[in-house]
Subunit: 396 residues, 3 copies
């Protein structure tokens, strides 16, 4: 029996009826079994690709991508996922620093979605705006479908918003699951999500938020650490606490990187901007206050520079369990002595984890494809079995 | 019997032999039955998509798109149409404000068309140049095919030129046909194509020209209204007159928006630039006269501003039949109080017609796909019947 | 028996076992029979397309394109080739003038290749860097495949590097073969690869190098001519000499265009930059020395301008065999009196060879597709036979 058939049989046992035709905004909108379904389908698609089997479920169709920020990795992950399933990507090139208004979004959403099967949106720059944009867009296409403007209803894959980064965090999580030999081995494992110094400015909060919102669901001890003033959204911390309580794990905040790293099994040191400052920035952009934006940038860079000791050095890594915690990063990292003089991680640490880091990233296209498949295919169990039984992708 | 089969049976009765391998420049190049065929196939493709049936007629192939002006809507419509039929879009990114010369066009046309099945060109900016460019391009690929450079001969879909905008106007028309319950109900209906004030500059004439050139073929009373100096091309007005005479409808010009709107069943208020000024602009661009271009822009904006009363206000709409004429626009509109202080249409009017406006736009990808299908498929009747009998687009 | 079957039967006799899963860097890495295989498959794919047969060998899959320089022709050729085989192109938009470093290339290579079947790279600008970049990139994906990051191993098509331009030169060569009625008629034919004056700066050396590295393999008398200081890479000249010795042809350098053109059967007059100057430029770019780059550009343009007599005039053409040598160019050419006041070729000469020039270019997508097919398909003989027996590309 192939791995895909085994996975399809596992999928059959899960309660996944609500996933068909549903959007994927945040991991905490989904039940544990629904997340399990995504991981399961991602693994199955990867197994099929390894055997060069076709995973095409669409004869034609479009995946619309909207990146309201530059992106190479997520762009290629989305394009790869669409291609894997038989969809063609059509990119909507939105101006970067422009915050779109309701009516315009509603019109655009309909105009670009006539043949859309799936919509992938990345809008992570502006606190208070990213999720709102995705919601406005998807509400518009739902209305469009209801009103007979669109013949088919497209679904959303959140490719990063101001609140969560579900495709990244689910890829991170699937990587952890495989590294530790299964989700059943994660109980009690300590994972440290910590802030790290970077010479650049205004990195989104969606990764740390997504991590504490997701990783607290597997019975792990999740620790968040950051310098004063770098708080994440309190709503997401509430979710993390509830998750931990439900799974017998824990969620807590500590004041130093050292404490977070102590005996950690997994570390995720990464820079982000303070929530309050990002809220201020959104308002400055809305007001078109260029001088205010520049002044804020200077202030934040100076604030960052006070915490250069928050870095994933060899010394810091020694504190982790057996000095060999699994090091995670969403890439690209700011690497001390390679991409910048002082950054998030020592070059020697980063270099030692190169293969697992690339492997971590390699799950993302499969996670995205699994999200698309679960929202577009009514009977994914039969679909996987049919793909397993069908032909090679390369016809000759 | 499905709607598609009914439409295929209707198609079978039409004289459409000249459409195979033909280009689509202007609606008035085509016979009434040929236009009927486009509408019929567009409706059939929409019915097939509604039932999620595959409409793929190509196993592989390229649709080349050339936009000599920014475009989101037309770009997505063309991409959607190509995807619907199984073609991949490859975009040729031409510099915007550069008027290409014969030899260069001839070389480029061949170089990008080795695998092209269809070419979509939008070149609407320069009066006297847009159609010429399309013709030069298509003549070059015809020669290329004749000389054995190209193994297959691609056909043209005019995505807007300086003379006509056939994909837009045919989408508008199909929308009208469905709103009025069939082409047989249009006899004697009054449609007002009127200029409207916009704070922007240099909008193409192809929409009003396309509208009077097409809508006069269905027995309707077509009225054109614009302030002095905003004349459209006299050649197109001649066509409108001839069409009206042949169908028992009428074509006339009136001096005010009020008169045009009076008892109208359909209104299409939209800004455009004066023909003479656009001719002047083309010459200034050809001469590279930047100062002249700027001076002309200022002059035209000032001229526009004298006609701010030409606006589709609530007051103006009250003059139409029962105060509820069908409001049309090719989008995006300049909306008073929403996208600009004073524009083409009151926000409350626009907002009331949002669903029909989006529906109007939704016909465009199907019209484009129908144009492609009629020029590339020798026996479209059998093709539609085969698509109706075949599998779902989503395989699982 | 179709032409494709004949070609498949010829292919069956060739030793091509090493081509499966191999990269295509330089023509001189390949045996004569391997190059023959590329020509054979290119001809077969063209025959299949002429009969509108499907040449799709992939059900899904990505061709990644990386153009580290602007390119319309090569971009369309690669896109056409991928489409011909069923692959979708995903373009990685790299900044133009940035010389990437090892670690960054390694990371990017993996991040964009999760679903890649083939990678097409053009990096011709910097002497000493183009090939190195391609090699670093492909080594990284090989490691990625070995380490389980990539499930399938993509292969390279060199779309132009600093050393060779194999897709161009193989297209040129296939054009020559067909113009002269077969490779067996080329023995003793004289081909003149000569420098020609152009008012532009810094054109790559990969075409002249590719030409002398490839055309010396067919028993022809290959002559290279350029003004003093415009030498090509000595390593490639060594290859040309060895090739000539092995095939009974000759390779030599002459000092004037006149001597090169004398009794030539084929002429390839084209501008390029001096090798030493291009080496200097690479260093200036690496140092970010903007002033140095500008100074070098001025110097090189002045140097070029001393050799305006190196031009393919009507007078010059009269020296060739019967005054009617086959004129080649990779396009676009700098045409005297058309695209510039003084350039590489007289307008009247260029115009007379328009059809063969376009035909020359038309082989490129087929050459690229043949390279992809030979590296991705284990049994190309059976594949061609199956394609010949299968359905039309247009299904209806």
């Amino acid at each position: 029996m192939s791995k895909t058939i085994e996975l399809a049989q596992h999928l059959e046992k899960l309660h996944i009826n609500n996933m068909y035709k549903s959007d994927f905004y945040w991991t905490w909108d989904k039940t544990d079994e629904e997340l399990d379904a995504i991981f399961t389908v991602a693994d199955a698609l990867r197994d099929l690709r390894e055997r060069n089997k076709s995973t095409r479920i669409f004869d034609s169709g479009l995946g619309i991508s909207i990146f309201r920020d530059n992106s190479t990795r997520t762009r290629f992950s989305f394009a790869s996922a669409c291609n894997l399933l038989g969809l063609t990507v059509q990119d909507l090139d939105e101006k970067k620093s422009q915050i779109a208004h309701g009516e315009t979004v509603r019109e655009t959403a309909n105009m670009v979605s006539f043949m859309a099967d799936v919509i992938g949106i990345r809008d992570d720059m502006f606190i208070g705006e990213g999720h709102k944009y995705q919601k406005t867009f998807m509400d518009a296409v739902k209305e469009g479908y209801r009103d007979g403007i669109l013949e088919q209803q497209p679904t959303l894959v959140n490719l990063q918003c101001d609140v969560d980064h579900p495709t990244q965090c689910m890829a991170d999580m699937l990587h952890i699951i495989h590294q530790f030999g299964g989700v059943e081995n994660l109980k009690g494992k300590k994972i440290a999500m910590t802030w790290a110094y970077s010479p650049s400015y205004g990195k989104p909060l969606s990764v740390p938020q997504g991590v504490i919102g997701l990783m607290t669901r597997f019975g792990m001890d999740v620790v968040l650490a950051h310098p004063e003033g770098y708080d994440v959204m309190p709503e997401v911390e509430e979710i993390a606490k509830k998750n931990a309580a439900a799974t017998g794990g824990s969620y807590r905040k500590v004041a130093t990187m050292e404490e977070a790293f102590q005996d950690a099994d997994i570390v995720y040191p990464k820079s982000w901007a303070p929530f309050a400052a990002m809220e201020e920035r959104t308002k400055l952009y809305q007001a078109g206050d260029k001088n205010g934006i520049d002044a804020l940038e200077k202030k934040l860079l100076a604030q960052n520079a006070q915490h250069k000791d928050w870095t994933c050095s060899e010394e810091m890594m020694k504190r982790t369990r057996n000095g060999s915690a699994l090091y995670l990063h969403c890439l690209p990292a700011d690497i001390t002595g390679l991409s910048c003089p002082e950054g998030e991680v020592d070059n020697s640490v980063f270099d030692r984890y190169l293969v697992p880091l690339y492997k971590e990233a390699s799950y993302k296209p499969y996670i995205i494809a699994a999200m698309i498949m679960m929202s577009k295919v009514k009977d994914p169990v039969s679909a996987l079995m049919a793909l397993d039984a069908a032909d090679k992708r390369k016809m000759f």
